[in-house]
């Protein structure tokens, strides 16, 4: 039987594989080593740099938009001349161009920035190290998923240069508007097909890796919380993305083959009846879109929670409070995230019964989120906290995500949502979750794992400047959005609400938000300098500078770039966060170290 055939030691277990493929890895050429690499660490870094580029690019788009919102109709200074006559004649933004920027900001930030960074980069680099695996389960698939993502990015960027520019129908691409859109929308759909393919391949790879390549002794309840978060995230990607792929295919058919999946009968556009058979349903798109896009919110937030949990346990020098409760919560959260999607659709004429159902599930899903957040807060209690740069970012995450989560409650209840829907309140809410929430956590992760990647640590002073600058500016950007939103200002206005009487008292905030956004852009320069400078100039550190317990820290720093992360395959003896165990000689007990002999008192 299979079980008996397997020796206990994993290395000796597979003589047949090591003989069949046991050729020594020859020194790979530049292209195979750094460009078309199949090594999870290189792919992780490729994801990381590409995603950081897109985050910066997406943020630049919004910085340009914020000029128009703060000073409507005035010529953009300094860089206005860069743009073509069709988008910004004389440096003054046209409404069509504003819509392009808005749609592409959302798309780029979510699908090309945060998800690839949180899942593609951190997942690829950290998961195999944290579970003691030599690489991902399917290295070639891993490379394919990065390049599919890259192509998707190229298509999305390319769409700015087609006639009439990029997609203008918002990141949600609601039909019928999206169906009558210009060519940029077709590019958007094609780009999405690439990105979805990339995410699906990645999710398959992560799940197989976590299930199959765990080190011996690493049972599920000994996983670091980060691995749990990525496991659930991959499940969400795997099962929620395909319906959007289906919807994208149907919208492509509508646009290219003239079908009417999403077009109702008797549609009139600019006073002209459209030449279609009709009989389709715009609501169908919304269902299929939000079936993905709500779980997508948790795809954005769960890896962030995972990173924060790692850093908090490490810097409080004590185990996470309620590890088991957190694990069960994250599983429940993933499950529930599939049955709340229509709370995005309360004002589509939804009946009371079905709307009651979605309100109830929405209230239920807040419970596991609150459990996780509370557990993280309680983990701080009585700890001797080290205020390192990653810890500052992780601590910043907690209240920011709290604000984001709590402001979501009124949106999950139909009566209040009817007033708040499509106002700046919604923008404020989800940006608090994703920007000061997820992005702070991602920065935390970069500072935290940087020593593992390079063998050097990032500059602490610059890191602290980056933290305080970012968190202060973020609050000045997003807090006023609640004020404007409660006043009823719509999120889609090209002039920021100038023409509306009721918006006048809150218009002054536009300038505040814009200036904060630009200052935050400047603060990021500090981060970019720190990131690149520390590769050569950073302080050299040992392989476990944070004195952490999880497996990645037992690998050598900047591990070798060809399948194989550890000197010998690690074996796991204990749970992930055994800090300050009474009686031990040190205040941390790495997972791969056998039980310390506790002297009998």
């Amino acid at each position: 039987m299979a079980k008996n055939a397997h020796n206990k030691d994993l290395q000796v277990t597979h003589p047949e594989t090591s003989h069949a493929h046991g050729e020594h890895h020859p020194e790979l050429g530049f292209w195979r080593k750094y460009v078309f690499s199949t090594d999870h660490k290189v792919i992780g870094l490729q994801y990381g740099f590409t995603a950081l580029f897109f985050l910066l690019f997406g943020f630049t788009l919004v910085m340009i938009m914020r000029w128009q919102l703060a000073y409507p109709g005035e010529a953009l200074p300094l860089i206005g001349w860069l743009f073509s006559e069709e988008s910004m004649p004389g440096g003054v933004m046209l409404p069509e161009f504003y819509n392009q920027l808005g749609a592409m900001h959302g798309t780029i930030m979510v699908f090309l920035g945060v998800v690839p960074l949180a899942v593609g980069a951190f997942g690829n680099y950290v998961i195999p190290l944290q579970i003691g695996a030599p690489d991902m389960a399917f290295p070639k698939l891993n490379m394919a998923s990065y390049w599919a993502y890259f192509l998707g990015g190229v298509v999305m960027l390319g769409s700015f240069f087609v006639p009439a520019g990029a997609a203008k129908a918002g990141w949600t691409s609601y039909p019928p508007l999206a169906n009558i859109e210009t060519m940029g929308q077709t590019m958007w759909l094609l780009g999405m097909v690439f990105l979805i393919t990339s995410s699906l391949l990645g999710a398959i790879n992560f799940l197989t890796t976590i299930i199959q390549l765990r080190a011996e002794g690493l049972t599920f309840m000994r996983f670091p919380f980060f691995v749990w978060a990525q496991l659930i995230t991959s499940f969400l990607l795997l099962l929620a993305f395909p319906p959007l792929e289906a919807a994208a295919i149907l919208q492509l058919m509508d646009r290219l083959a003239g079908t009417s999946f999403f077009l109702p009968s008797g549609l009139v556009v600019s006073g002209q009846a459209m030449d279609i058979t009709g009989g389709g349903s715009p609501l169908l798109w919304q269902h299929l879109f939000w079936f993905l896009a709500h779980p997508e919110v948790y795809v954005l937030i769960l890896p962030a929670m995972g990173i924060v949990a790692e850093i908090i346990a490490n810097n409080t020098r004590k185990p996470l409070w309620g590890y088991k409760a957190m694990v069960y919560s994250v599983i429940f959260l993933g499950f529930m995230s599939f049955i709340v999607w229509a709370h995005h659709m309360f004002i589509t004429g939804m009946g009371t019964a079905i709307s009651a159902f979605f309100q109830i599930t929405t209230m239920i899903i807040s419970i596991p989120s609150v459990i996780i957040l509370s557990a993280l807060f309680l983990s701080l209690w009585g700890g001797s906290i080290r205020f390192t740069t990653p810890m500052l970012f992780a601590l910043g995450f907690l209240p920011m995500f709290g604000i984001g989560g709590l402001t979501g409650l009124p949106l999950g209840l139909a009566p209040t949502d009817i007033h708040l829907h499509d106002t700046y309140y919604v923008i404020g809410h989800f940006h608090y979750v994703v920007a000061p929430g997820t992005i702070l956590a991602l920065f935390a992760g970069i500072y935290y794992w940087y020593p593992k990647i390079t063998g050097r640590s990032m500059n602490d002073l610059l890191g602290k400047i980056h933290f305080w600058g970012t968190i202060i500016c973020m609050n000045f950007i997003f807090m006023p959005m609640f004020i404007q939103g409660l006043a009823g200002v719509s999120r889609r206005l090209y002039d920021g609400g100038q023409l509306y009487q009721f918006a006048q008292p809150v218009l002054k905030w536009n300038e505040v938000m814009s200036i904060a956004a630009w200052i935050m852009g400047l603060v990021q320069i500090v981060f970019i300098v720190n990131l690149f400078m520390s590769i050569r100039k950073g302080k050299k550190v040992t392989e476990n500078p944070w004195e952490a317990t999880t497996l990645e820290w037992s690998a050598t720093s900047s591990p070798p770039l060809a399948h194989g992360n550890f000197q010998s395959i690690p074996r796991v003896y204990r749970g992930p966060y055994e800090y300050s165990v009474p009686g031990n000689s040190r205040d941390f007990a790495p997972q791969n170290e056998p039980e310390e002999k506790v002297p009998v008192a």
Partner: protein, 205 residues
């Protein structure tokens, strides 16, 4: 250091890597076709008549639009190919490489035959002036069967690779090669299952 469990099963899960991978992939495929089927249901319950007006002509049942005998024939072909591919795997398990070649070859031929029949069906629609844009019934028919057809094409490419150049692995690593055939088979059976549901829901209802 090599990646473990490519050929043998991991003791505690009892499966090798690619099997977990292919089932995960199939899970996502279930959701992909699930999304399309839910679109079909959504549009159909909202339609006053089905198939209804197509290209200016009223059709009362799907029988009047689609050719049921040909669809039935194609169903049989696909079912037969499912048997041949599982037989090709069984042949490898019994160490009979020649038989494997024969059964895998038959599977590929069945796949091609399915596509040829499909092409004739499409052509018949086009020559009657029935295109995807002529009504939601046709839009559903062409999109769903078209996407299924693409899956068949993908399967044929993979199977041909394992029939031709990929079969060299039998000499160097027979266990892993047998696994590959099992995984290719799992995908092919899934494509068959999709058709098993597509055929009655589109052709017969």
């Amino acid at each position: 250091m090599d990646i473990p469990y490519t050929a043998t099963a991991r003791p505690d899960t009892g499966v090798y890597n690619a099997k977990v991978g292919i089932w995960l992939f199939l899970a996502s495929e279930v959701m992909l076709f699930g999304g399309l089927f839910s679109a079909y249901i959504f549009l159909r319950i909202g339609a006053p008549a089905w198939p209804g007006m197509l290209g200016g002509q009223l059709y009362k049942t799907s029988f009047d639009v689609l050719n049921v005998p040909i669809g039935t024939f194609n169903t049989m072909i696909l079912i037969a190919s499912s048997v041949t591919i599982v037989m090709s795997w069984a042949s490898l398990m019994m160490n009979d490489f020649k038989k494997y070649k024969r059964y895998m070859g038959l599977t590929i031929l069945c796949g091609l035959a399915f596509l040829v029949v499909k092409a004739f069906e499409y052509n018949a629609k086009f020559s009657h002036g029935l295109f995807p844009a002529d009504g939601n019934f046709l839009a559903i028919y062409f999109t769903l069967t078209g996407l299924h057809g693409l899956h068949v094409v993908g399967g044929i490419i993979v199977n041909s690779y394992f029939w031709g150049p990929g079969s060299k692995m039998w000499k160097t690593d027979p266990k892993r090669f047998t696994n590959r055939i099992e995984v290719a088979g799992l995908y092919w059976h899934f494509v068959d299952i999709v058709w098993i549901f597509l055929f009655p829901t589109i052709y017969l209802l």
